[in-house]
Amino acid sequence: MDKVISTLISVGIAVGGFLALWIGANLIFNQVRKDFSRFSVIVGSILGAAFMAIIDGNSLVTRATATKGEWPLKADYLVWPVVGALIVGGGMFALSKVHDRPKRFLISIATFVGLSLLIAFTLKTGWRLRLKTVPLFIWPIALAAVGAATNALRARNPLHGALTGGFIGWLLGTFGGGINAQNASSSTAITETLIACVVAGILLGARVGMTHVPNLVTKAKIDDRSRAWIFIGPAVAFISVMLILPTILTIILSVKDNKGDQYVGLDNYRSVFRDDDNWDLSSLSGLFTSSILPWVGFFLLAAIGLAVLLGRETKQGINFGGAPIFPLIMAGGLFSFAFFTHARGTIFNNLWWVVGVTLLATSLGLAVAKFADGAKFESVAKSFVFMPMAISMVGASIVWRLIMYQARNEAKPQTGVLNAIWVWLGDITTTWGLGRVVVLAIFLGAAAALIYAFIRALPNSTSTAFLYLVLTAPPLWIALRTATDGIGGYVIKNNGSIAPGPINFVQGPPFNNFWLMLILIWIQTGFAMVILSASIKSVPDDYLEAASMDGATDSQKFWRITLPQILPTIGVVATTIMVNVMKVFDIVKVTTNGQFGSQVLANAMFQQAFQFGNSGTGAALAVMLFAFILPIMVLNISRLTKEA
């Protein structure tokens, strides 16, 4: 409890201090419009005090009293800031009152020359100057020219720029030129220091004296500009220090060796791409003997056939926009599944995650949003699906590992839900009994229902009808397997006996990748559902009513009206999920820590950078992750800025 209290106190001090500074700055700049003289005094005093505090703090000037003590306890530490505040604050006050130009000029020069004389006479002997001719002339002239040219280009008074440039140049030429160390107490050193200070004072005074007392418009401008930085400044500071600067440093680190010392060019990237753990296509040929491939071919052929049918119906030659979409998506999904089980390595795993999670989470979210729309207790059911969003990914990984994916020795009862079901299925479908008959009946029934739908739809739309016919293939195939070999988790031993065959969901490559994805799908489906549900509800009722008038069925209304209307939102959901999936870390870290062929970029980066101490390799992996995300984010952000 003590720690919480002390934490709260430190948060309070930090937030309170920040707020006090912020409000103080606001109150000061409120005076710009209300009372410009007061504003001038306050800002002049603060600037004068700060300047003198810096000079005094770096021991450039001697103190009135030479006692030693800790800042800010001793009063003599306050002497110089107070003097600075009085001189500059007083000068600024006078300037804010006087409109006459020659008088302003005199006041300004007097203020700054006074300050510079004070500094010149109290400057510690070690800081006295030895003027050198060349820098003394080159710096002021060069910078004055630059200042004048800049102001001329910005259509401002070139003299202002010349004076500012000349002032900075003079400081560089004198104080930057060299300290007179040998003859510090000689009269030349004293004179030259005096000249340096007084000329600086004259230049600055002349520049400040050339300003006007601001009129109402100028005051408003000063207020708005400074206020903009008060409001935006803190955020910009955080973004610069926490985001922009580290990103640049990471890119620099990625072209240095693993200790961060030596420049090594693109070696880190080369080694990442050469490493078999990251990029391995050696077993890709297995793709052609994959048992999934026939199904890909089947759905592809079905899609082409349906496209021809639909083309005839709509008289458009070959038309893929409608019924053929389903088999096409099935073929694509199955092919990517087959591809990623044979293309191994971190990079391919990451891509698999992106394809799998984005596709499944978006389409499941869309399905629930559609099913839930207008149903009874819609919000309750939706909050069940949405709830995993509130659970941490660490927690979700543990839940799934323990409750769903637990795999035990085949002789023992399974404690994980999925293995229990899987082994039970294997048990009941390998021997003839009631269980096998029921399973058979379920899949045959599903096929029969689809055939019935085919017959019903045939008079209306041949393409839709044949889609139903195509879809009878998977349940028929499963029914065939059930009748012959049986389905589910079983293994046939050497002696011909049948034993339970649980799946090692978490540790069995390459499919463990898919099972880990399922955890993220479990989380992200709720997100997709919420956004898509809101989008479905925002489709104007007029459209749907008009379609009903024309005799459209519910499914026609969904595919022809709702879906095209919400297509942009589906794009948003998919890209957002994609970015989240690309960065997946927690799930892999907690379940496998990247072992068993389940490594992903973010975890590889974490291990390299923070566990193995290879900052170069880690940075290269991080930059690669950035490069993968960038195109999607550019898409997202261009959409957002268009909306805004």
Binding site: D223, L243, M404, A622, L625
Partner: protein, 313 residues
């Protein structure tokens, strides 16, 4: 059409209406299985958990074998830290990491929305574009920065410029707050800006005519009017920081044991080679309790936040 037939028609409609919500309910219940199973298992003793599935409740003799022993044990488990301590740590991380970004982002959002200055649009677009930077890209230098600051060695001149001084906050919660604040900033500014910029222009003009300055307008007008969007962002950020594992593990994982939040605690518990596996359900439930309360209590705001800016990077 008679009254009877229309009544019958309504009954059929109702039947089909109920039938059409069946897929949704099946889906919702399937989605609930992992959480439900976890809840049941958190009340089952070690042996039951290890030897039988949570659905075999009757085998345990229901009433007598269910107990809260797991919850009692989990508060005493842990090698470097206790669950109670890590809950406090999570709060000590999540609360400041929610409050600080809200303050800073609200100022900036107002500045971008209602203060006229040169380059406003360009700066705003740049801030939004920074959402593209993934967390991972900044982590390595951030950790180094918290230890020793950021320095740049200028080429040719061989001079080192200190960009950020070393704060020496490694292994302290403040390093986590600062990181969360920085990373929340672009999204927070974007979300709040979109809301604040849509406030009616008239109120600003009339306030201006009455002599109100930017500070007064922000404090008296904009903040009270923006409560809904501030709440939405607060919930978003709280859930994100409470559930965060990557930032906390990077900043505190190796050298901040006494500051470990709950996510690291349960991840470590899960990594103990199955020794404490029977305590995980209870621990995971305790960890999820706070976000679930926030979630169910304030779901409306949360959904609004999601809808307003579904782009958190």
């Amino acid at each position: 059409m008679t009254i009877a037939s229309s009544k019958k028609g309504r009954a059929i409609d109702r039947f089909y209406g109920a039938l059409s919500s069946v897929p949704m309910w099946i889906f919702a219940l399937v989605w609930l299985v992992p959480t439900f199973g976890l809840m049941i298992n958190s009340f089952r003793p070690k042996d039951s958990q290890r030897n039988s599935g949570w659905w075999t409740l009757e085998a345990d003799g229901l009433g007598e074998r269910l107990s809260i022993q797991g919850y009692r044990d989990v508060f005493e488990a842990g090698t470097t830290n206790t669950l109670g301590q890590s809950l406090l740590n999570s709060a000590a991380i999540a609360l400041p990491a929610t409050i600080i970004p809200i303050a800073v982002a609200a100022f900036a959002a107002y500045g971008f929305a209602w203060i006229d200055f040169k380059g406003r649009k360009l700066l705003f677009i740049s801030v939004v574009a920074i959402m593209a930077i993934p967390l991972q890209v900044a982590l390595i230098p951030l950790l180094k920065m918290y230890v020793g600051g950021a320095h740049l060695t200028l080429p040719f001149l061989e001079k080192t410029v200190t960009l950020v001084p070393g704060w020496g906050v490694q292994g302290q919660p403040i390093s986590v707050w600062l990181t969360h604040t920085g990373f929340a900033m672009p999204f927070a500014i974007f979300l709040l800006h979109n809301y604040i910029v849509s406030l009616p222009k008239d109120i600003f003009e009339s306030a201006r005519i009455d002599g109100a300055d930017h500070f007064t307008i922000f404090w008296r007008l904009v903040l009270p009017l923006s409560i809904p969007v501030l709440a939405a962002f607060a919930i978003f950020q709280f859930l994100w920081t409470w559930n965060d594992y990557l930032i906390a593990n990077t900043m505190l994982g190796a050298n901040g044991f006494e500051h470990h939040p709950t996510t690291i605690f349960i991840a470590n518990l899960a990594g103990d080679f199955g020794k404490n596996e029977h305590l995980l359900p209870a621990a995971a439930f305790v960890q999820a309790f706070v976000p679930l309360c926030v979630f169910f209590g304030l779901q409306r705001f949360f959904v609004r936040g999601l809808l307003a800016g579904s782009v958190k990077g």
